[in-house]
Amino acid sequence: MKPTLIISPYSRKLINGKQNAKNYPYWKELVNILNKKFDIIQIGNSGEDKIDGCADYKFNLSFDQLKDITLAAETFISVDNFYPHFCNTIGKYGFVIWGKSDPNIFGYEKNINIIKDRKFLRPDQFNTWEDVIFNANVFKKLDISDFNNFNK
């Protein structure tokens, strides 16, 4: 039986319907790499796209349910959304994929904060995301070597 990996692939939907610029564009490829080693559970809200290759999809969980499966999992991979904050409150640490937002501000040192280059950080970190244009190039395309430190 493979260990469990939780992925939280999306940041919240924007009111204007645009793609949230915090969303990582290469989840499908990443899941295909990692599902050989992990049973991957995608969490999120109903209506969000399911990433092919996951072992399970757990949407609309209560915070208690989310806590239970998070603590039971080996680790997690998330974009910059509520989930790393949630995990921090229950003492769970994993991998966070950053694009234009600054992990020094919004992240936790105990996580592996994956950032392509700080030059892609948006200059105004505290504005809303409604009008921030999605750009896949700001994200690092990950491979298995980025996850060598799974035991962290």
Binding site: R12, F82, H85, F86, N88, N104, I105, Q125, F126
Partner: protein
């Protein structure tokens, strides 16, 4: 030696001492076992030569200084050896008699071994309120001195030492006996010669009235009288100049006092009894026979409580009724105490919450000043004490249904019993009061119009103008208002305030108002037409004030955390601001903004120590009313709209120190009220779900610093594992607080440095 005669003298050898000695020689058997000691002090005349010339049995005790009566007597006593000591003043002359008659008369009562002092006059001492043997002529058994000492030199020149000595002797169980016992001597106004059964003539205070010897005798006498009163006269010492009966375990009880305690004993319910204003505790003389009685008497006066304990045991306590921690009692007795309290009427109602039976008396219709400055309430009648049964105690002590005297000489006898229905009609006349400043042409018209449109009748409208103070009769809009008020039969008046703000304005309205109820309305409020009707329907005889909802149209309508408990005052969520699920009338601790209140429940007045801002004036006013025993209520069906007009208003002072002054004063009030109000730290999470969790990661650190917090948030589920933390909607938070605690505003304001989200929260709240 059997007899020692001691004669103190101070000059006056020829005119007083010689005639005195001559009479002694003439009417006393000097061959018997006797010595005569002349205790001369301060004499500048021929006294020394004269006494030394007398020979046996005369002796001279000489003191060159004028040492006063007591010390001169004491010097004589020290030099004496007789079994019986006779004290004689030098201004006496023994009258014609068989030799030694006077000595034999004085010594005769000593056949009774309990007799300690004899003398021809036993008379009353007003300051000591006791009888005593006057020492112009007396005989004292030697053992009395051995037991209680000599005369007290505190009396100096003289006067009062004999009273003091006799009382001390009687306290040591010696009798003081007048001889002859048939009656006191009398004074013949013509001859000023003492006549009667004892053969002696006494000039009386001859030396004291000689200003060459004694100056200021009157003042000396007064001072010595005061010493006696302080020592022996509990009524004089503790009685507030006869205003209060201070009765010991042995004193007779005056008729009215006897009547009320006899009545109380017959009417006491149960066994646990609290007596307020117990004075010297003589009520215990009546209550002690009640089986299993558990009695506590309290009085503010330490002196009477000490006296009460000495006379009636350790069942009394010093206590101020306004701070006393009341338990529950079967019966509370409060005889002639309520009139001593500014809030006596309110206290009477408050006491009912602590007992099954309340018994009391107050003077009926007392004219101010009649019983001195100790009485704070005057002209009291039954209407001042609702829900009691009443009788009257007349001056002679009888109990009747009606008074027989209308100026303070009757007592109203009041009895209240728990559960008994006292059907008292409620006066519902109303004066509406609108304090205003700078809102003539914005929201004040709305407030006035809402008064005019009430379905219940408003007797009078008082507009208290603390602002521009213009003549509104010259303003077209207001001429229409005034015409409408006239048409509706509402008397109206515009009064100019004193510029000291809202508390002073409301106090002014209390003083002006002649109706039983006062409806206060802010000048940016508009009451629904049925508000007054609903509020008046909510009152009963115990109601001090009733408010309705006071809704701000732009604020949220509901909030489950709203509270009008005084301990939740800092929560900042008054129940009057939100529509409750349960719309029944409920009791609260205080009211806000607009409400009606009973004038007779407002004798405590508004807090005039507040600044012009009057911050928390209504909270203090209504909560003190509640503390005085009145019910404070909210009827949520009565809705007044509060526009929170940012322009004008009687509180429109921008000086923050005024608000802080008032807040500090309020904190002092809370301390005085012994209320540990919950000081909640407000947390404002006006942001995303992740931000909520970022905050949650330091929640325990925050709880270590702020034991009581309240969280205004967008995602309350995040904190459901902290059930004790009150959560409120972010919409309930004021704009100022939302800005003050906005996390992203804080980050933007500090973006020159990179601050982690969690650290930003720490900086905001820790």
């Amino acid at each position: 030696m059997k007899y020692s005669i001691i004669i103190p003298t101070y000059n006056h050898c020829d005119d007083l001492l010689k005639p005195c000695i001559d009479s002694i020689i003439k009417y006393t058997n000097l061959e018997s076992d006797i010595e005569i000691i002349i205790s001369a002090n301060g004499c500048k005349d021929n006294t020394k030569e004269y006494v030394e010339s007398l020979g046996h049995p005369f002796k001279l005790v000489w003191n060159s200084d004028a040492i006063g009566f007591s010390r001169a007597i004491n010097a004589g006593i020290e030099a004496s050896t007789g079994e019986y000591v006779v004290l004689l003043n030098n201004d006496i002359i023994l009258l014609e008699q068989e030799k030694n008659t006077w000595i034999d008369m004085l010594v005769e009562p000593f056949k009774d071994a309990t007799v300690g002092i004899t003398g021809p006059i036993k008379g009353p001492s007003t300051p000591a309120n006791r009888e005593f043997i006057i020492f112009f002529c007396c005989m004292i058994k030697r053992e009395v001195f051995d037991k209680i000492g000599f005369l007290d030199p505190i009396f100096g020149v003289g006067g009062g030492e004999d009273t003091d000595f006799c009382i001390r002797a009687e306290s040591s169980d010696y009798k003081t006996v007048q001889v002859p016992s048939t009656g006191p001597l009398d004074s013949n106004d013509v001859s000023n010669i003492m006549i009667g059964g004892f053969p002696i003539y006494h000039v009386g205070e001859a030396t004291m009235h000689d200003t060459n010897c004694v100056s200021g005798w009157s003042a000396i006498f007064d001072n010595n009288s005061r010493i006696l009163a302080e020592r022996y006269n509990h009524q004089w010492r503790l009685g507030n100049y006869c205003e209060r009966a201070v009765i010991s375990k042995d004193d007779p009880v005056p008729p009215r006092e006897h009547t009320r305690y006899t009545w109380a004993k017959e009417n006491i319910v149960g066994t646990k009894v609290l007596e307020i204003g117990c004075s010297s505790g003589y009520g215990w003389r009546y209550f002690k026979d009640i089986p299993n009685i558990d009695y506590l008497g309290i009085d503010k006066d330490e002196g009477v409580i000490t006296f009460a304990k000495e006379n009636f045991g350790d069942r009394f306590k010093i206590a101020d009724i306004n701070t006393f921690d009341f338990e529950q009692y079967d019966t509370i007795v409060a005889f002639e105490v309520l009139e001593h309290l500014d809030n006596g009427k309110e206290i009477a109602q408050k006491l009912k919450k602590h007992c099954k039976c309340l018994l009391g008396t107050v003077p009926f219709n007392e004219t101010p000043g009649m019983w001195g400055h100790h009485h704070k309430l005057h002209k009291l009648s039954q209407k001042d004490f609702l829900e009691f049964d009443y009788k009257f105690i007349h001056l002679e002590g009888g109990i009747y249904d009606f008074p027989d005297h209308y100026e303070g000489l009757n007592l109203i006898l009041m009895k209240w019993e728990q559960g008994k229905n006292y059907d008292i009609p409620i006066n519902k006349t109303v004066t509406a009061v609108i304090p205003t400043k700078g809102r003539y042409h914005t929201t004040l018209p709305l407030a006035i119009m809402s008064v005019i449109n009430q379905t219940a009748h408003v007797d009078r409208l008082i507009i208290i103008d603390d602002g521009e103070k213009l003549d509104l009769r010259e303003n077209v809009l207001y001429t229409y208002f005034f015409k409408l008020l006239d048409d509706k039969g509402i008397k109206w008046e515009v009064v100019f305030g004193n510029g000291k703000g809202i508390a002073h304005s409301h106090q002014l309205s209390i003083n002006m108002c002649e109706t039983e109820w006062i409806w206060r309305l802010d000048d940016d409020c508009s009451a629904e037409p049925n508000v007054l009707e609903l509020l008046l329907e909510s009152v009963d005889s115990k109601t001090g004030a009733v408010g309705g909802l006071v809704m701000n149209p732009v604020m949220p309508k509901t909030n489950d955390c709203a509270s009008s408990k005084i301990k939740d005052i800092f929560l900042g969520l008054n129940e009057q601001w939100f529509i409750p699920n349960d719309k029944s009338i409920k009791q609260v601790d205080h009211l806000y903004s607009s409400f009606i209140y009973r004038k007779s429940a407002a004798s405590h007045g508004y807090c005039l120590d507040l600044s012009e801002v009057g911050h928390r004036e209504e909270t203090i006013f209504t909560h003190e009313m509640k503390r005085n025993g009145w019910d404070i209520k909210i009827n949520p069906n009565a809705v007044t709209h509060h526009f929170m007009n940012p322009e004008g208003g009687i509180r429109s002072y921008s000086n923050g120190s005024l608000w802080q002054h008032d807040e500090n004063l309020f904190l002092e009030k809370l301390k005085f009220w012994n209320i540990d109000a919950d000081k909640h730290k407000l947390i404002v999470l006006d942001n995303g779900l992740g931000d909520h969790f970022a905050f949650k990661s330091i929640l325990n650190e925050i709880l270590e610093k702020h034991s009581k917090i309240i969280i205004a948030c967008c995602y309350p589920d995040v904190f459901k594992d902290y059930p004790d933390i009150p959560l409120i909607s972010i919409a309930s938070v004021s704009h100022a607080d939302r800005e003050k605690y906005n996390l992203y505003k804080f980050l933007i304001d500090n973006q020159k440095e990179t601050i982690n989200l969690v650290d930003a929260y720490r900086r905001l709240y820790l």
